[in-house]
Amino acid sequence: MTTPRTFEVKALTRVEGEGRLYVRMNGNDVEHVEFNIYEPPRFFESFLRGREIREVPDITARICGICPVAYQMSACHALEKALGIEVTPEIRTLRRLLYCGEWIESHALHIHLLHAPDFLGYESGISMAADHREVVERGLRLKKIGNELLEVLGGRAIHPINVTVGGFYRAPRVADLRAMIPDLEWGLQAAIDTAQFVAGLEFPDFEQDYEFVSLRHPDEFPMNHGHVVTSSGLDIPVEEYEQHFEERHEPQSTALHSVLLPDARPYLVGPLARVNLCYDQLPPLARKSADQCGIAWPSKNMFQSIVARAIETVAAYEEALRIVNDYHAEPSVSRVEYTPQAGEGCHATEAPRGLIYHRYRIGDDGLIAEAKITPPTSQNQGQIEDDLRQFVPGVLEYDDAEATRRCEHLIRNYDPCISCATHFLKLTIDRGPATSPA
């Protein structure tokens, strides 16, 4: 007779937001897996109704303290489409620069403080600093420069105040941006060193047949713009996103998962998906890092997402430096004016953690009538659970503490942003016989 074995992490650590992991085994069979989000819901899509168009980027930023720019960007682009306005090339470039800042701070945080400790056997970046002070300090400085870029462009790093529908309230001053050039130059080299460092980590042998999903743009590595593409060959404009991706209620659990139609497959968004699908669009030095890291792209090993994240950090520094070096005069127009009017628009951009989709309907009164927001982590949730189902049998040889640690490591591969994913909350847990006293 087999005794059911369970792994439970009541509070996942080193992730953004609060969640838990629950796995129930029966012998070597995985009976049940839940990556459970217990963040309380905050109802953004509801209270956005009746708000002014110009308030939306300020409000949606508050969904996530780590990736506010992603929410601001998707919201602004979607609302601009609803209003039928187009921003100038200068504003488009400054928005890309802003997004570079967010990718840098978010990726540097995750690589050094949240994820690398898993590979090197530490409980935190703080403990890791005792033995790897230089690596952690390099990571902190990389992150700080990303935050400073956000401050110059956005006013502050967390919840920038300078982003608005149509552009920026004020263009960054030439002297302020150009003063960052030495730091950006240092950061570019430090990011290349970091990519080399993480490429040398030991990756568990765990390849899966993933469906990767990201934006793809003909001229650049995707951030603010692009078609939605998948590794199985789908290539659609963002306007068709909801026809191909659906939030579904899984009958055997209480979870809502985003799935790719028509087969209702889970899929994967984020740095690994982007590097796999847009490898040819990486800027030159990032491409060189990708070529020299010893991984044959595309990679199907999610543990190598830390390398993809590091390559994207190189790309973000490279792009930021290019844009800042070209910034010689403030644009004459920092924001395109608009008149509030009825309309509907949707847009997707690439958050540090993956594709983020927003759709808005503006009513006849010029106020928001409907909002739909699909964050990256809720899209990855089904894939995280699938990974765990495949991964757990391989860690049964370890004691519970070690097996649990390895499962947590797997979840951190996704850099889950649980605060963002709260509207995929599930609270009913089928614990089955495992929770009954033996």
Binding site: T13, R49, I66
Partner: protein, 263 residues
């Protein structure tokens, strides 16, 4: 050597941005970690120690029955309890539900409303337990957070300004957007501490740091209304990240009541 003081960080309904501010203090993070024992901080480390703790930082608002119980236990465990950010000090943006029907909200967002377990209100931590100190902001200012930790290590009361955003605007020589652009700005009634970034970036203050000491919202909103601002716009301006702070709440409720009285 005396044992290091213990620091714990707790999260309620929030975006994580305020606790992230500690990790965003890149230059101070490792020195702080050397000076205090970071005993409980789930976002940053796996290792946790049991309470009691010398200092507890609480981010987020209370929105579930479970959290209403959890904050009681946290209060028992922390000698000095500090709320960090608008959610913890006033209920946050999610307190907009306090003026709405939460059941409608649930049906609008969730496919299976039965699974959602939430209170009808989002409330500040101080509505549930005594709070020793509060750091304002959406998000908090990381310099104020570092100063708070330093102050507590030195055994002095942390100090944050309670005057208005306008004071700092004048000190910085920033042009007044209310006067120059004629926009409704919350600077005169909002506590300083953000570094007055919004007027410096050519836009109005929208109240991230909540009401200043003794703000006169009646006078300010009447003045804006008399000078052409729409009451609905003013309600939205005040009902924001700190909309459920008592002074802001009273002001928006008054404006709504006026709207019904005067067609």
């Amino acid at each position: 050597m005396a044992a290091q003081p213990t620091l714990a960080v707790f999260k309620f309904a929030s975006c994580d941005g305020c606790q992230l501010s500690l990790l965003d203090a890149e230059d101070e993070l490792l020195p702080v970690a050397g000076a205090v024992d970071i005993a409980y901080f789930l976002e940053a480390r796996t290792q946790t120690s049991e309470g009691p703790y010398d200092v507890g930082l609480v981010e987020g608002s209370v929105t579930t029955a479970h959290d209403a119980e959890r904050i009681q236990e946290i209060r028992r465990q922390c000698k000095f309890l500090v709320t960090i950010g608008a959610c913890a000090t006033s209920g946050g943006i999610q307190a907009l539900r306090n003026w709405a029907n939460v059941d409608d909200f649930i049906h609008q967002v969730y496919a299976t409303p039965d699974y959602i377990n939430t209170l009808k209100t989002s409330t500040a931590i101080a509505d549930h337990v005594p709070v020793d100190f509060e750091l304002r902001g959406c998000p908090i200012n990381k310099n104020q957070l570092v100063d708070l930790i330093k102050s507590l290590l030195l055994g002095r009361t942390p100090r944050v300004p309670q005057y208005s955003v306008c004071v700092d605007c004048k000190r910085q020589g920033t042009v007044c957007v209310a006067v120059a652009q004629g926009v409704a700005c919350l600077g005169p009634v909002t506590q300083a501490g953000c570094g007055v970034i919004c007027p410096a970036y050519n836009r109005e203050c929208f109240g991230c740091f909540g009401p200043k000491e003794q703000p006169n919202l009646v006078s300010l909103t009447d003045w804006y209304h008399d000078h052409g601002a729409d009451r609905d716009h003013l309600v939205r301006l005040v009902r924001n990240f700190n909309g459920y702070a008592p002074e802001f709440r009273d002001a928006s409720d008054r404006l709504v009541a006026q709207e019904f009285e005067t067609p």
